[in-house]
Amino acid sequence: MIISLFGAIESGLIYAIMALGVYLSFRILDFPDLTVDGSFVTGAAVAAMLIVNGTSPVIASLMAALAGFVAGCLTGVLHTKGKINPLLAGIIMMTALYSINLRILGQPTLSMLNETTLFQQIESLWAATGIDAFFNGILTSMGLDQTPSTWIIVFSMILVTLIIKLLTDYFLKTDVGLALRATGNNQKMIRSFSANTDTLIVAGIGLSNALVALSGGLVAQLGGFADVNMGIGMIIIGLASVIIGESIFGVKSIARATLAVIGGAIIYRIFVTMALRADFLETGDMKLITAILVVAALITPKIIQARNEQKRRAQKKAELLQQKAREV
């Protein structure tokens, strides 16, 4: 149990980067970008292919992000210059990327089992410090008999995800970032203040997919393989993270919203892990669980709000009746 929870947090932190990307397109630009399903795999494929061919894992991860950026920009161009509906532009790109990803991989699944990934590099540096033993010692003394094999992945991913979050927060408050947010909020307005909304959309969707692809590259390295189908339903997972996070942690400010997205990604992973432990559910049911989860996260706040409103009205009515009764 503890081990699988730990694993959920580990991968939740990596998927959080993807969720931040989805947040950029879906919330900031108000652009429902389905490229994500393809660009996630592109990131994984580029990273895996480069690592198998002997590139350093750090550079491979950065190249994955770059590939995602290019893919996202293309979606942006399809929408802005080609005047294609955002959903359709994303689907077109996603479909095209499937073939491209297959070409990059050269086969449906590319394994990195015999290669050194980013995480293995960090782990080997880490192992010498003996900190794992220390933390596991704490867990053992708390009476837990199972302990995670390493803590460094969680620590390093917290660091990386936090840095990306802080950079995103900073960027969205710069002059360019403000113009980007206005593009998602009121295009007519920001055009009348000399912002080229087409360029901003292209760059914004590019950035979003760069994060998604970076996440894909890291997920591939954590799992030790890249698979051409690993991106199916990724946009829904991203949306689930964004929506769950927002409804639990709130969206008062940009910094709060990005934190909420990361929290949402981790909670989603934990939830799925728990669900899969139920005996009657199988691994293949995960997409269904995700879909139900998104629907629940979308509808529940509205139901609660409607119920509160009803309660408030009933109360008002009762008060009014009481008042009248007293007057009589």
């Binding site: 408050k173 710069t174 113009a179």
Partner: protein
């Protein structure tokens, strides 16, 4: 400062819906001139504004701002030096962003936007000063989302955002039409103040004849895509609404059709 030469635009050409929205408009505005434009619905007032701002491309003609041909510049490039306030109070601001963020975007309209913080201490002080001139207390609500403001407050903010960088041209497109009379008067007062303070070359479209007579130093009347009357300041000051109606009748041989123009 602003010159329109032979501007013409036809919508749905060669179809039954063909509409000649502007037919050969020639117009010249001197620097600092404040021109009001009236005309019935479909006279081409808004189309003229859209053509000047770059939102629409004319079929023929040229637009010269500050001795530079701008007819081929896209809207976002022209807005470096053309400020605009729309009729819809929702149109000129970004509702999900704060007052100071909106002002920051307006502040950088004639600068290159960089990866530096948009709201700095220095800018915030400047914004406070500008907001204080509106007398709406907005200077104390810098971090409030603009979506929370009333229509009048939003329009006042839009007006400030469109003007405080002192654009070469200011376009006001019926910017009080969506407000109740007292709010409209407030916006008109602010308009008068900022236009004279920054000495802005202004073109203001209005449905309200009284407004058109009270404000500005030149009045244009448009009908069916043409400027049919061009009244200079000294003549305009003596004019009444009735005079304007009569002039219209004389020129066009029909009654000025819009009731809204009288009552609004």
């Amino acid at each position: 400062m602003l010159q329109l030469q032979d501007i013409a635009i036809t919508f749905n050409e060669n179809t039954p819906d063909e509409k000649r929205a502007l037919r050969s408009i020639d117009l010249e505005l001197q620097k600092g001139e404040f021109v009001t434009v009236i005309g019935s619905n479909g006279a081409g007032k808004s189309t003229m504004m859209n053509v000047i701002s770059g939102n629409m491309e004319p079929d023929v003609g040229s637009i010269i701002v500050n001795d530079k041909e701008v007819v081929n510049l896209p809207e976002y490039k022209r807005s470096h030096f053309i400020g605009r306030v729309f009729q819809d109070p929702m149109a000129g601001t970004a509702p999900a962003m704060t007052i100071e963020e909106n002002l920051a975007m307006a502040f950088t309209r004639n600068k290159k936007r960089k990866l530096k913080p948009g709201v700095t201490k220095k800018r915030r002080e400047l914004f406070k000063e500008y907001l204080a001139t509106l007398n709406l207390g907005l200077e104390n609500r810098l971090t409030a989302k603009v979506g929370l403001l009333s229509g009048g407050e939003r329009q006042a903010l839009s007006l400030l955002m469109a003007t405080f960088t002192e654009p070469d041209i200011l376009l006001l497109d019926e910017h009080t039409a969506a407000l109740d009379p007292s709010r409209a008067q407030l916006i008109i007062d602010i308009t008068r103040d900022v236009v004279s303070k920054f000495d802005l070359t202004t073109l203001m479209v209005t449905h309200n004849m009284q407004q058109a007579l009270d404000l500005g130093d030149r009045l244009l009347m448009m009908d069916k895509g043409e400027v049919i009357l061009d009244i200079p300041k000294d003549e305009k000051d003596k004019l009444t609404i009735e005079d304007l109606m009569q002039e219209f009748q004389k020129k066009q041989g029909s009654d000025f059709e819009s009731d809204r123009a009288i009552l609004g």
